[in-house]
C-alpha cells in the first residue's frame, strides 16, 4: 500500500513521493531535518525492496544486480556520433563477399631462416635484405632494378595515402570524422558538430582580386597583371553624361530625353500620373498632424489627469482608414 504511492525509478535509484505534506509545519531546523530524513528512509526502503529482490549474481565484492533502464530521461552531454560511411575497399569487399581474416604478426622468412614481423622495421621480404636481383632477358640496360623496386614501393605508399585522404574526405562530408583527426583549418578539436570551413571558390577570389586592383589612383589601369588575373568586371564608368550642346546624333539625345519627360507631364492623360486622391490624403494627414501638435501642447498643460495614451489612440484610429486607402491605390 505504502509503496504504491511512491514513484520509483530503479535505474537512477530514485524515489519520489508526490503526496507528502507535513501535518504541522516543523518549527525548528532539527525537527525539519528529522522529519524529512524519517520520510526519506521510507522512500529508500521502498527502492531497496525492489532492488534487493532483483536476481543477483555473487561476486567477490558482493552481490551484483543488473539495473533496468532509468525512466527519468536525462539529456545527453554531446550529440550522437554519426556512423562512418564505408570506404571504397569496404564497398568492394562487400560486393565481392571478401571477408577479413586474421594474419599472424610473425612470419617465417625463408631467406634469413628466422621469424620476422610481417610489417614495419626489420620485416620479412625487406628490400634492404636483398643483396642480388637476378637479371632477366626483358630488362632494359641502364636501369637500376633496386631503384625501380623502391619507386614501386613508394608509389604503393602514396596511393594508399591518397585513398586514406579520400575516405576521410567522405567521412568529413557526413560529419563522421574520427575524433583524433583534426582538419588543418580548424583550430579546435572536432567534437562531431563543427562543420568544415567553406572553401573559397576560384571565381570569388578573382572577384576580390579584381576589386582590390581598382583601388589604385588609376583604377588599376597601369597595374601589372599577375599571371591568370582577370581584368576588373566594370572597366568603364557606370554613369553616362550626354553632351549638353545641341547637335546631330549624340548631341540630340539630351533634348530627346528631356522632351520625353515633359511630354509625359503635359499630355492629356496627365491626371493619371498625378494621383489626386493620394495627394489630397497626404495633405489631410499633414494638416491633421499639425493640429494635433497644437492640441497636444495645450492638453498636456491643462488636463494632466487625462491619460495621454487615450488621446493618441483615438487620433491614430481616425487616421488609419485614410492611410489604408492611399496605400491601396
Amino acid at each position: 500500500m505504502a509503496e504504491a504511492q511512491y514513484e520509483v525509478d530503479l535505474g537512477n535509484l530514485m524515489a519520489f513521493d508526490p503526496h507528502h505534506r507535513f501535518v504541522s509545519p516543523p518549527s525548528s531546523r532539527e525537527e525539519l531535518s528529522k522529519a524529512s530524513i524519517e520520510h526519506g528512509t521510507k522512500l529508500v526502503q521502498a527502492i531497496a525492496d525492489v532492488l534487493f529482490s532483483l536476481p543477483s549474481r555473487e561476486d567477490q565484492d558482493g552481490p551484483i544486480v543488473t539495473l533496468p533502464a532509468p525512466t527519468t530521461k536525462l539529456p545527453r552531454a554531446k550529440p550522437l556520433p554519426k556512423p562512418r560511411p564505408p570506404t571504397n575497399w569496404e564497398v568492394f569487399a562487400q560486393k565481392k563477399g571478401i571477408q577479413k581474416r586474421k594474419k599472424e604478426k610473425l612470419v617465417f622468412d625463408d631467406n634469413t631462416e628466422s621469424w620476422k614481423r610481417r610489417h614495419g622495421y626489420d620485416r620479412v621480404n625487406d628490400d634492404n635484405d636483398i643483396p642480388i636481383i637476378e637479371a632477366k632477358a626483358t630488362d632494359e640496360p641502364g636501369t637500376d632494378p633496386f631503384a625501380e623496386r623502391r619507386k614501386e614501393k613508394k608509389g604503393r605508399v602514396d596511393k594508399q595515402e591518397k585513398n586514406r585522404l579520400h575516405n576521410l574526405k567522405q567521412a568529413a562530408k557526413v560529419g563522421a570524422l574520427p575524433s583524433h583527426i583534426q582538419l588543418a583549418a580548424t583550430a579546435l578539436p572536432i567534437t562531431g558538430t563543427q562543420s568544415m570551413p567553406k572553401k573559397i571558390s576560384k571565381d570569388e577570389l578573382q572577384n576580390v582580386a579584381g576589386m582590390a586592383a581598382t583601388a589604385t589612383a588609376s583604377g588599376g589601369k597601369f597595374d601589372k597583371k599577375l599571371p591568370g588575373e582577370k581584368p576588373p568586371k566594370h572597366e568603364k564608368k557606370y554613369r553616362k553624361f550626354l553632351p549638353a550642346v545641341e547637335g546631330s546624333g549624340m548631341g540630340s539625345m539630351e533634348r530627346q530625353q528631356t522632351e520625353k519627360v515633359l511630354n509625359k507631364l503635359i499630355s492629356k492623360d496627365s491626371h493619371e500620373i498625378l494621383n489626386v486622391e493620394k495627394a489630397v490624403n497626404m495633405y489631410n494627414v499633414k494638416s491633421d498632424k499639425r493640429q494635433q501638435k497644437k492640441q497636444g501642447g495645450k492638453s498636456s498643460s491643462s488636463s494632466r489627469l487625462k491619460p495621454d495614451k487615450k488621446s493618441f489612440k483615438k487620433s491614430s484610429n481616425k487616421k488609419s482608414p485614410y492611410k489604408g486607402k492611399g496605400k491601396s491605390k
Partner: protein, 314 residues
Amino acid sequence: MMRIKTPGKGRIRRELDKRAPKLVETGKKTLILHGTKTSGVLNSVLTEIYHLKRDDSVKYTRKNDTVRPFESGGETSLEFYSLKTDCSLFVFGSHSKKRPNNLVIGRFYDHHIYDLVEIGVENFRSMDSFSYDKKFAPLIGSKPFFAFIGEGFENVDELKHLKEVLLDLFHGQAVTNLNLAGLDRVFVCTALSSNKIFFSHCALRLKKSGTTVPRMELVEVGPSMDMVVRRHRLPDDHLRKEAMKTAPELTKKKEKNVSKDPIEGKIGKIYIPDQKVGSVPLANIAKGLKRERREAKLMKSEDKKQKKQKQESE
C-alpha cells in the same frame, strides 16, 4: 588537397578519443567555479560539492569576472571552459547584495548552455558540523539513492526543473551492473514551499532485518542546506529533442518466437499454415471401365511414379 593533422603520440590520441561523442554516455564531468565575489558560506558550499563529486569534477579557484550565465555574452567564457575541461555540468557561485549566496547550476549540450537554475543557499551546515561514526562515511564515487519528497516537485515548474538538475548533478556514473554492498549514500530533498527545498546528504546503513531486504537507516552526514530557487531557464524545445536522443541500437525490436532455456538452449517456435487434410485431392480411381483397362491405367501411373523416383534418386 585537404590537410589533415593527427596527433603524433598515442596518449594524445587516446585522450581525444575519450572526449569524442559516444553512443552510450556513462557520466558527465562537472566544472565548479565562482564569480568575482564569494562569501564564506558559498566557498564551503562549492568545496563540499567538489568533495561529493571528487572523481568527476574540476574545480577552478580563480575569480571569473566574465562569467554571467544568465546574461547574453556572459556565457562565452563559460562555454570555452566547458570545452577545455570537457565538462557538461557546471556549478557557479557568486555573492552580491541583490542575490546573496547565489549558486547557478547548469548543464551543457555540445559545450553550449542547455539549461540553468539559480538557487540561493540558506541555513547551510557543512560536513564538519555533523558528528557521526566515521566508518559510515560514504566512499567517493559510490552510486547514491535519491529521495524527493513533496508535491512541489511535480506541480511547480521550477522545482521540477531543479529536481532533474540535482539528479543529473549527483547521480554519478550511469551503470547497468550495481554492487549492492557498495550502496552507502542518499540525497534527501524535501519541498518546503513553492520555491524552497531542503537538501541533505545522508550516509546509508544496511541493517539485518531477517529477510533478504536489509533495513535501511539514514545518518545525516552533511552538507545540508535550504535551496531557494531564483531564476531558471529551460532548454529550447528543439534543443531538448536533440539532446534526448538515444542510440538507435538500444531501441531494438524484440525478437519474436525465440526463447532461451537454461537446459535446452535456444528454442524457436515455427508456425506452419493449416495442412487442410480434408480437402486434399485423392488419386483418381477410374470407374466404369473394364477390369484390364483399369488395371493397366493403375500400372501406368505406378510406372510413372517409379520413373520419377529413379530420376530423383539419380
